[in-house]
């Protein structure tokens, strides 16, 4: 099932700097925020929107939440059009932003949730029950009756997640949830999103510029830059799409210079270095391309040269490098 479907979704913001810019029929400057994005997000699991600041992640999320109107293109959430069927979409989505301002600081965490629950027309008894469950789920039961102004940043973020889940949304948009959290709190929020939200069958759309967070949480992700999706797929798919060379580490017994010379002649070996030698063992580091063609020939050469391969490990391209490749527009095709 498709949770979100966008087709040619575009958002250009008019630049308003003077009062006369508010007048109709006036030529204004436009800033492209989201540029012709087409996207299908499957139901359940975590989908990541990964990109640097200003890539268009938040604008895309706001369009899908009906908070910003698209300039052109269409988008549907669970089959409902975000422009034409706004009330239906609002019943299906929740939003967790990193914006601490969006709570009433003089009210307690529980009072804040009670207020927002009423906007979702939850009957009082049901609201009370759900608020208690959510506070328990995010680990704020003990602090529920403390004023929001006395919460730590981590607690505020947890309360924002609880608020996002108040209406039991089918799709939860989470915008940089760990932006200002310490590593321990950030990890707790990630685990919560993965296990308690996505694990309960909801679709989570996560905007982040934290690469390890994206790798840890997302089933699939889109790498965005300048309002466009530069790459789309699961992390392994993106890796295979962008990985042009791999690092192969080997531990070899009876390795010789003659074998090394022969290895260097193999087409696809970009570099061959001995990093360490001890007790008849040599540790090698090979940089290879075309792994499936090169690796059998490497092993063959070793065996024919009288060496014994004790260990062989292929290093994966870090997500950072995939990210850099994608940002520089190495490919705009979808990973398959």
């Amino acid at each position: 099932m498709i949770a979100i479907k966008a087709k040619g979704l575009t958002k250009r913001f008019p630049r308003t700097s003077r009062y006369r810019d508010l007048l109709p029929f006036r030529n204004r400057e436009w800033v492209m925020a989201v540029d012709n994005i087409s996207l299908d997000i499957e139901e359940e699991g975590v989908f990541g929107l990964l990109g640097p600041n200003g890539a268009g992640k938040t604008t895309l999320i706001k369009m899908l939440c009906c908070l910003v109107l698209p300039t052109s293109g269409t988008a549907q959430v669970c089959g409902y059009d975000v422009v034409k069927e706004e009330p239906a979409v609002k019943k299906l989505v929740g939003l967790v932003s990193a914006e601490e301002r969006s709570f009433y600081w003089r009210l307690t965490g529980r009072e804040n949730l009670q207020f927002y629950a009423s906007l979702y027309h939850l009957p009082r008894k049901l609201a009370r029950k759900r608020i208690s469950e959510l506070l328990h789920l995010v680990g704020l039961t003990g602090e529920a009756d403390i004023r929001f102004q006395n919460y730590s940043t981590g607690m505020r973020q947890k309360l924002a997640i609880a608020r996002g889940l108040l209406s039991e949304p089918r799709v939860l948009f989470v915008d940089e949830p760990t932006r200002s959290l310490d590593p321990v709190s950030a990890q707790a929020v990630r685990c919560f999103l993965k296990e308690k939200v996505a694990g309960e069958g909801k679709t989570v759309v996560l905007a982040t510029h934290n690469l390890s967070e994206a790798e840890q949480l997302c089933n699939r992700l889109a790498i965005m830059n300048h309002g466009r999706i530069n790459a789309l797929g699961s992390v392994p798919e993106l890796r295979s799409l962008f990985q042009t060379k791999e690092k192969c580490r080997m531990q070899v017994r009876r390795f010789s210079d003659a074998i090394r010379s022969q290895l260097c002649l193999i087409d696809g070996i970009l570099d061959c270095r001995v990093t360490d030698q001890y007790d008849g063992f040599a540790n090698l580091e090979l940089m290879i391309s075309k792994r499936s063609a090169v690796l059998p020939r490497v092993l063959q050469t070793m065996v024919h040269g009288g060496a014994e391969v004790c260990d062989c490990q292929l290093g994966e391209l870090p997500l950072e490098e995939i990210f850099v490749h994608a940002l520089h527009g190495a490919s705009k095709e979808e990973g398959k």
Binding site: C65, L67, S97, E99, S102, R106, L107, F115, L119, H121
Partner: protein, 267 residues
């Protein structure tokens, strides 16, 4: 209804968290009433002929003006203030994400301020009567309440127009400034409209506060019936019927524009 109660609860909790400010607000009523009492004493029995229609007592005249102008000031500023607060706090966007209709959010968010202003009006009248001896013995309470409700409805239309402008320009609201200033000067808050020069008096007739204060004074100070106040009441109904739908229409357009510009929480 549940939404309205939630807003009231939210605002009450916030107001009570600033107890001193809450009490000082009510306490300030005493000082403004006292100032006008002593001004009334200064005029003494030298009754201005323009006040005769309202019973001739300047203090009672100005007491009603002060008390009920609060509703105008509130209506002009409160909707816009709530929008601005929502922009600054970031709560506006979260509220608009919910399925609650915008008109309900807008009206519910002002309920507490109206209740507080009603309380202030009561304090004005109590201080005026109990401490400074204003005479409200002839008051037609029913007619007064009707005029008050119609006044609030017509002022609210202007307030919502003003909120629409704040949604777009964020700060600096010419509607509130113009209507508020003109009403203080021309609508007969501190002196009867009849003291204005002939060329200025017609301008007072385009302001709902003029009709509201005139009818309110006649109802409270002279005990006029609804029938006797029908012209002022019809004028207020006219303002309400024209301004309220217009205000919601303009506000909806402004919201759409804010969504186009992505400026809902910009301030």
């Amino acid at each position: 209804m549940a939404v309205a109660v939630a807003f009231l609860k939210r605002d009450l909790s916030q107001a009570l968290s600033y107890r001193l400010s809450f009490l000082l607000q009510l306490g300030s009523v005493f000082f403004s009433v006292a100032i006008f009492y002593f001004l009334g004493q200064l005029f003494g029995s030298a009754v201005a002929p323009q006040l005769e229609a309202y019973g001739g007592d300047y203090f009672s005249f100005v007491l009603i003006g002060l008390a009920f102008t609060g509703f105008l000031g509130l209506s002009l500023s409160n909707f816009a203030q709530n929008i601005r607060e929502g922009q600054v706090m970031g709560t506006l966007e979260i509220m608009l994400l919910s399925p609650t209709r915008l008109s309900v959010i807008l009206l519910s968010s002002s309920l507490w301020a109206y209740l507080l202003t009603t309380l202030r009006v009561l304090v004005y009248l109590l201080v005026g009567v109990l401490i400074f001896g204003a005479s409200l013995g002839k008051a037609n309470v029913g007619a007064g309440l009707l005029v008050m409700l119609l006044g609030i409805a017509s002022f609210s239309g202007i307030g919502i127009l003003s909120a629409a402008l704040v949604l777009l320009v964020k700060k600096g609201d010419p509607i509130s400034w113009l209507i508020g200033g003109a009403s203080s000067l021309l609508a007969g808050v501190y002196y009867p409209v009849s003291v204005l020069p002939d060329w200025l008096e017609p301008l007072s007739r385009v302001l709902p506060l003029t009709y509201c204060l005139n009818a309110m004074r006649l109802a409270i100070l002279q005990g006029y019936s609804i029938y006797e106040l029908r012209f002022d009441i019809l004028a207020l109904i006219g303002f309400t019927v024209v301004l309220t739908p217009l205000a919601f229409l303009v506000f909806r357009k402004a919201l759409k524009r804010a969504k186009v510009e992505g400026s809902l929480i910009q301030y």
